[in-house]
Amino acid sequence: MLSAREVGLVAQREILRNIRSTKGIAMFVLFFLGGLVPAVARLMLRKMAGDVPDEVVRATFEGYLSKQYGGEAIVKHLSSAPPIVFFLFQGTLMFLPLLVLAVGFDQIAGEIQHRTIRYSAGRATRASLVAGKALGIWGIIAVMISVLHLTVWVVSLAQGGQSAGAVLSWGARLLVYSVVCAGAYVGFASLMSSIFKTPIVALFVGAGTGFAIWLLNGILGYFPSTERITWIFPNRYEKLLIDPDPLTVIAGIGLFLLWGGLCVTGATAIVTRRDI
């Protein structure tokens, strides 16, 4: 049984624990430096190719969107986004599963391996412990993604050539979508971490499973006859988030959260039944 108070306390501890840990500090530094990468790349491109007219940049961007997503409506919708902000979103989604796993692989497995969970097991339900830990990891990831995105916004605005309104409106939207996507992968990390008693096994099996999901999503999605199966994979919902129809976006958000929620429920079932 879940208790909001217990979940809140566990989540709070998980956030503080991560912020104070070497791993947490290293992650923040990496995310900050990661935010500088697009700006540096832009500077280097300018140096090599000189100033490219805005029209050329826009046409190239639209060409990319058309090739990637096809539909005219979606291309028109996305073409108003600053390219750097959009590519940041795509890059975030690409590395998000691995990053979430790197932060959250030991959240449960580590406590079971060292039996630290025994100190809290009699004080909070195991469902609250799992949910609180997942929520805490989600919070940490949300902060890390925000650090990354905010760094890119600031640098991008400082470099000029971008409308502040476009950067902030599209940036905020895509930041929220990234955090929503992270929710699903946090659930996945919780599930992996609950299955294994050894954190490193949870990390490697989780990474392997994540790669398999990505691969299967690509292969099955290629063939019209098997495309429907890809709905079981969270990667499938990414496209829904950038749809011009707000209802489709909401459905995408809901599917990501549902996927993450199901994984956390699975993790709870495993931890509740297992001997600790």
Binding site: S3, R20, R115, Y119, R123, A124, R273, D275
Partner: protein, 330 residues
């Protein structure tokens, strides 16, 4: 008067109220036909016993006896394969009902290495339902009780084994729980710290029900008033400490310099053997329990010693817990 008959010592901590224990009520802990299997191996096999409310109860047995498995089931860490366990009339996994009422010192659970002692204790206190100011006060109090008032800002990972054990003990005592489960509370501690921990545990007598699992039989005999002896997963016997130790058919008379009426003692009705140990100046008398009990044998023995002008330094009945356990778990 033996140790277990000695009235409970006054608790050292004066800031905590003494909880009145109702010994007439239901048992604090009740196990009925409990079995725990790991694959084909039954680590605990059909164990049934009760822990009286307010008692200091020892779980005794050699390695592999099933002590820690039984302990872990009481704490809710392991689910029994079959049988029933009730802690304060609830299943041990009823966390919502039992939180704050049961404190546990697990044997081999590591404290979170990167967290500070104070923060961790406050977190645990809050998790068991205390508000923030009470949690802080409670954490400071238990840390002071275990002699670790200076460790508040110390990272758990830098604590020595003994310090970590005491922090764990402090965590178990947070919030004045009604039942405290301690698994090997003095294992690996140096004699001085072990003594301090024993004193702390003794100070809790009468304030809660204590269940202590330990290899240290002298320690258990000193602290506990009830015990269960396990061997190879099965309950051998359980009862009060007086019952367990006095049920052996032996009385020991320690004599000061002077006559030792060994032969006269052999003539007493019911006596089976009489042994005189010169080094310890102890006259050990074993007797037929069907003829008389330990108290009667003490009466008869002291009468013979008195008649023969022997000077008695001390009398003890039974062989002590250690000897009793050795006999029962061979």
């Amino acid at each position: 008067m033996s140790e277990q008959e000695t009235p409970a010592e006054e608790p050292k901590s004066k800031s905590k109220p003494k909880t009145k224990i109702d010994r007439s009520g239901p048992p604090a802990i009740d196990l009925k036909g409990v079995i725990k299997r790991f694959g084909a191996v039954a680590a605990v096999n059909d164990v049934t016993f009760e822990v009286p409310m307010g008692s200091v109860f020892g779980l005794i047995g050699p390695n592999g006896a099933g002590k820690t498995t039984t302990f872990s089931m009481l704490a809710g860490y392991l689910a029994p394969t079959s049988g029933e366990i009730y802690v304060l009339d609830r299943s041990p996994d009823a966390v919502a009902e039992l939180k704050g009422k049961v404190g546990v010192l697990p044997q081999d659970a590591l404290l979170p290495a990167n967290e500070r002692v104070g923060d961790f204790l406050v977190y645990l206190a809050r998790l068991q339902g205390m508000d923030a100011p009470s949690a802080r006060r409670g954490a400071e109090q238990v840390l002071a009780d275990v002699g670790g008032a200076d460790w508040w800002s110390t990272r758990c990972g830098t604590l020595s084994h003994g310090m970590a054990k005491r922090v764990g003990l402090g965590a178990a005592l947070l919030g004045e729980p009604q039942v405290v489960l301690l698994d090997e509370p003095t294992a690996g501690l140096d004699p001085r710290v072990a003594y301090e921990v024993r004193q702390l545990v003794k100070s809790r007598r009468g304030r809660c029900t204590l269940v202590i699992s330990s290899h240290n039989l002298q320690e258990l005999e000193e602290i506990c008033d009830h015990a269960a002896i396990l061997d190879r997963g099965q309950l051998i016997t359980s009862g009060t400490m007086a019952e367990l130790t006095a049920s052996s058919s032996e009385v020991r008379f320690e004599l000061a310099r002077g006559p030792v009426p060994e032969e006269e003692m052999r003539g007493v009705e019911g006596v089976k053997t009489v042994e005189w140990d010169k080094a310890s100046r102890e006259l050990s008398v074993t007797f037929d329990r069907a003829v008389c009990d330990a108290e009667e044998m003490i009466r008869r023995g002291t009468y013979i010693l008195y008649q023969n002008n022997a000077r008695i330094s001390g009398i003890s009945k039974g062989r002590g817990l250690e000897q009793r356990v050795m006999e029962l778990t061979e």
